[in-house]
Each structure stands twice: as structure tokens, then as C-alpha cells.
Amino acid sequence: MAAVATCGSGAGSPGSAVATASKSNVTSFQRRGPRASGTNDSGPRLVSIAGTRPSVRNGQLLVSTGLPALDQLLGGGLAIGTVLLIEEDKYNIYSPLLFKCFLAEGIVNGHTLLVASAKEDPANILQELPAPLLDDNSKKEFDEDVYNHKTPESNIKMKIAWRYQLLPKMEQIGPVSSRFGHYYDASKRIPQELIEASNWHGFFLPEKISSTLKVEPWSLTPGYIKLLQFIQNIIYEEGFDGSNPQKKQRNVLRIGIQNLGSPLWGDDICCAENGSNSHSLTKFLYVLRGLLRTSLSACIITMPTHLIQNKAIIARVTNLSDIVIGLESFIGSERETNPLYKDYHGLIHIRQIPRLNNLICDESDVKDLAFKLKRKLFTIEWVQDNYLRQERNIYPPGFSYLLKQKDSAWGEGSLQHSTFLMSFLAKATAFASRLVRHSEPLKQTGSGRIHQAAGPRLWHDGRRQEAPGLLGIPL
């Protein structure tokens, strides 16, 4: 095999407490407490690795995805031993950002990286990673315009982002931080010295495939076979699965595979509906998950599923992955002009969350999620939050309002409609409104009716005529 492109002689994880266990058996799922619950019987000692934390629900070891908002939606983070599949957006603009945040989080935490791509040289990918925000400013909420460069006094009470007051202040020891989950500045590049201090391996397909040796006729494309062998080699050599007696590794391997399934990998599921190798990708995912389950690693894969011709393959791929997230950007679609989605760049769909070591999973109740890349930060929000914010700006509470319904983007009975109504009901003061704005009786333009007040509906010439807000009963 061609020489593996490694960089740096970085050590594992300086700065944080790493308790080395005496046994070399490594499990993917470890728990606090004396009960052994891993794949092999592991020692009762708690192993603390930088950048990981046990899950609240089942004690599983989690790593951050690089986006704290996404971590929250996934129930705390990405579990070690699992695969995070990102279905790319149509023009592949935002999924590389998620991919890079994942890798940057690995560098900041001192994890080992394995970057595989068929399109770009992994060294170039690493150069383009976003810079972490490591000072206290990163804790403030950025969409409230509180971003400043001065170091705040630690005893100033934060009024807006008061939750962050409770987080421990972190020490700045070099590039490694002990915090779980960092914010990244998408407009700046990661400092060169961080990359050099990290331990990473790159797999660039055109380099590896040119030195084709004898390849067994398995029904996997040669690119996938080589990638699997490369990953397995790294896991064994660096001791992430505990089977190598010389290496006692207590670090996490973060694997990132870009554009898996695209024609550049030699796979034709994006080109033909019933290709010759239609099982290649699913077999690859299965063996990859087998490798991950028995090692201290987590994997992110971006896949252009919108290009896959055979929808059944997408369903199978989804079943074979653990977490599946779909990105849908608004560029070029009619949603770009929808006022509900103002300020947002796209929707984020959480399609699947795994049930690991448990009967239940951490499914979040919020389903309408949108993301935006605003002022260099990637944030994920509930769509209705934006809507309510807009409404509160235009209609301050304490007033009673009449609404002239024009042709708007809402229809009756839509979610936006009812949310609007509820936002008013929630804020209606008990004593009467201070100002009542009247308008002339409404002509029904649409089929929607927003406000039903006292006052009967009048039928006039066969057409409904409404006069909400007027107290007299004309006839």
C-alpha cells in the first residue's frame, strides 16, 4: 500500500486527566460503575478521555459533533462506535461545513483524525478547517448582537445568555480545551500549529488506487475495499480496538469520509438505477459499522443521496447507519422567498436516531429545524422561533389587533396560522386592551378567518361579511 500520509508526532491528549486502564481491552460502550458492560469484559475503572463525556441516559461515551446545537438535538453528542450520515444538500455548500466542524473538534480535543476523500487531498481539507472560538466570548449568543472582542469580567451578570453563566470557565492551555463542544468561526482558518500538533491520517483515493495490486473479486468497488483496509489498518496499528498488545491507546479516532457513493469513488449508484455494484455501498457500510463497534472511533460520512437513482438503496443505507441527518438548502427553491424562512439558509431534518443499549431513544420533540450561516457561525433553530420573533417585533403585546387578511403566505389552518394566533392569546393581558384599531368590515378574500370576535356573522347577498371587533350588531 502506498505510504500513509501522517502528520505531526502529536501526543494523545495533553492537558486533561487521562486515567490509563491497566487492561488493554477496549470497548466502544463503557459505563461508569463497577459493572462491566462492554463487548469484552473491561476493568471497572473509569477511563476519561479528552473530549468525551458519558451520556446522561445510558452512560454511553459521547463525542461532540462540532456543533453544540446539533449535539443537543442528538441527545448529547455522537456515541462512540456509531456512524453519523449526512445527506448532502443539493449544491454541497453546507454539508462540508458540518464535516469540517467535526474534524476541527477532533483537532481541538486532541483526537486522532482519519480523513478520506476522493475529491480533495486530505491535507487541503485540513487546511480549510474553521478556527475554534476558544475565549469566553464564544459563550454569548451571537444573534443578539453582543459579539465583542473584549474579555468580559467574570463577575458581570449575563442578562441574556444567563445559562452560560453556570458553565465552568475554561482554562486556556494551548490548543486543547477540556470543554465538550466548541463554536467555530467559519470565516477563519484553523491555526497552522494546531494542525501540526495533531495526529492525522489521510486517504486520498487517486493516490491509493493507482498502485493496484491483486484485488480479490469481491462485489465491492476497489475504492471501498482499499478504504476499509486502510481504516482497519489504522485501528489495529494505533491500538484503537485494544487488540494490539504493544499499543495501549486511550484516545478517540474520528473518521471522516466525504462524498461517499459519488461516482468519484467508482460507484455507479448515482449514475444508473440498477448498476452492477448496487450492493457495494451497503456492504461497505455494514463492515464499517462492524469496525466501529469494536473500537474507540466515531465516523462522519457525507453522501449525495439526492443523486442516488434507486430510492430503495437510500432506505437501506438509512437502515444501516446509526444517525441520519438531511440538509436541505433553500438555494434555488421557492422556499427562498417564503417569509417564514426569512434569514434561514436551509432546513435540517433529523431522519433517524439510534436506540443504543436501550429500548428508547432521545428523540427531540422539535421537528421543524432550520439552520443559518450567519455572521460566521452555523446555528440551528426551531423555525417557529424566528416567526414568533418577527411577530413580537411588529405587534407588541398589550394591544389588541385587527388583522386585514391579504394574500399572504399562510393558509388557514396552517401551522404558522395557529402559532400566530397562539402567540397573541398567550400574551393577551387580562385587563382590556389599551388601543383598539378598527378597520372596515372585511371582505373575505381567502378562505381563512383569523379572528372571531363577538358579533355575529352576517350573510349578505349570499356572501359572508364579517365585522370583527365592532361591538354593535348591525343588521
Binding site: 466502544s28 460502550f29 458492560s37 463487548t39 450492493h279 455494514y286 432506505a315 437501506r316 429500548l359 428508547i360
Partner: protein, 266 residues
Amino acid sequence: MFVELNNLLNTTPDRAEQGKLTLLCDAKTDGSFLVHHFLSFYLKANCKVCFVALFQSFSHYNIVGQKLGVNLTVARERGQLVFLEGLKSAVDVFFQTQEEPHPLQFLREANAGNLKPLFEFVREALKPVDGGEARWTYPVLLVDDLSVLLSLGMGAVAVLDFIHYCRATVCWELKGNMVILVHDSGDVEDEENDILLNGVSHQSHLILRAEGLATGFCRDVHGQLRILWRRPSQPTAQRDQSLTYQYKIQDKSVSFFAKGMSPAVL
């Protein structure tokens, strides 16, 4: 083992029927809680269980099993449970050449072969041990899940052949039971999966179908379970009996209630 589900199915570990094929099917939701139920049910019934676990790792089933009251590690050591861990075996098959035929041999082959090595493994695991001592009541084969075999390159017909061979051996010859999980792809047109699902449901005695709610995600009702009793060997003179319940999965149990009678709603 969920006591409420036992009541709905009208069985207990002591007096379960033998020679039956049960099909677990899930559409738009995760039906793996049924697999955990049957695994703990048959282990408590003192049966010899062969579990072909292709979907998750051993520790996952073990940890959930402990919540349900069975210890898989102990069962494996005692010889009551024969566990084929698909994920780990796939890695072994893929990276190291095996001398003797491995149950998951088909991963190395380019063309879709047949599942004969897997069947040999099952038969070897469940055959009655000579020596006279009858420690276990009857053998049980549990497969989680069959749709993974399709994803790994097998054809639907090859998988149906495998099920047929297993049924002849386990259900008819050894008077044991079989429990199989198949995903229902629903409106995604996965023809192979549909062939497989139809073929197995035609042969099964009991079908448990876990569906997501038609109206989408709900925090209090996780889905709907349809139970269908069938008699495949006899002509359908009697009508198949069918029941529908809704369920909510909790940490260690699953609660079932009639449609619309969720405690959250009442």
C-alpha cells in the same frame, strides 16, 4: 419480556406453542423492542436459542436484556444461547481468510451465492445434543434482521430458501419455534424486500406488525402494533384473527392500550 404483550398474545413462557413461525415486521418505526421481548421470553422458557444478530452488537442486546431480566453472557456460557454476532463476524470474514466455511461467507463472494453455510451453522447450533440429558425444552431460532441480508448482496430468493430450510429443520423436525424480523419498506419501492416480506408472511403463524402512527411523531404514543394470527397449513376456512393496539415504550417495559386510549389523552 413484556408482561402486557404476553397477555395480548395469550402466552406465557411455560405454555408456549411449538412449531410456530413468528414474523416481526416494522414499517416507519423501529420494531426492535419485539426482538428483545422474544429473546427474553424464550430464554426464560428455558429453550435453546440460536440468535443470528446481524443488526447490533452483543453488548447492546445484553444491556437491554438485563433490563428485561435475562443475562445473555451467562446464557451463552451455559450453552443455552448460541450467538452469531453479524457485525464482528463480518469484520473477521472480510479481513482474514478463513479456512473452514464461515456462516457469513457470502460477504467475500462477488456473485450472490446461497446461504448454505449460515443454515449449516444454525442446524449445528440447534441440533439436540446426544447423551440423553434434556436440559432445554425446545430449540428456537431468532433472526434480527433479515433485510440486512438483502443489503449484503443476497437475493430475495436465496433468503427465502434459507428460511424454508430453517423452517423445515427447526419448526417441523425439531418442533421448535422461529422468530424473524423483516423491515417493511413501505412506499419506497424495494422489490426484493417486498418479495421477501410477502414470502415470509405467507408462511408464518403469527405476524406482529409495528407501525408508526399515520399522523406522525407523537411523544406519548410511539406506534401501533397489529397482531395477526394465521393458519398457513390449513385452508382458510376460518378467518384469521387480528387485533390492533397502540403502545408506548418506556425504559424497561412497553405499555399497550387500545387505540385512542392512551393515558396521555384521557
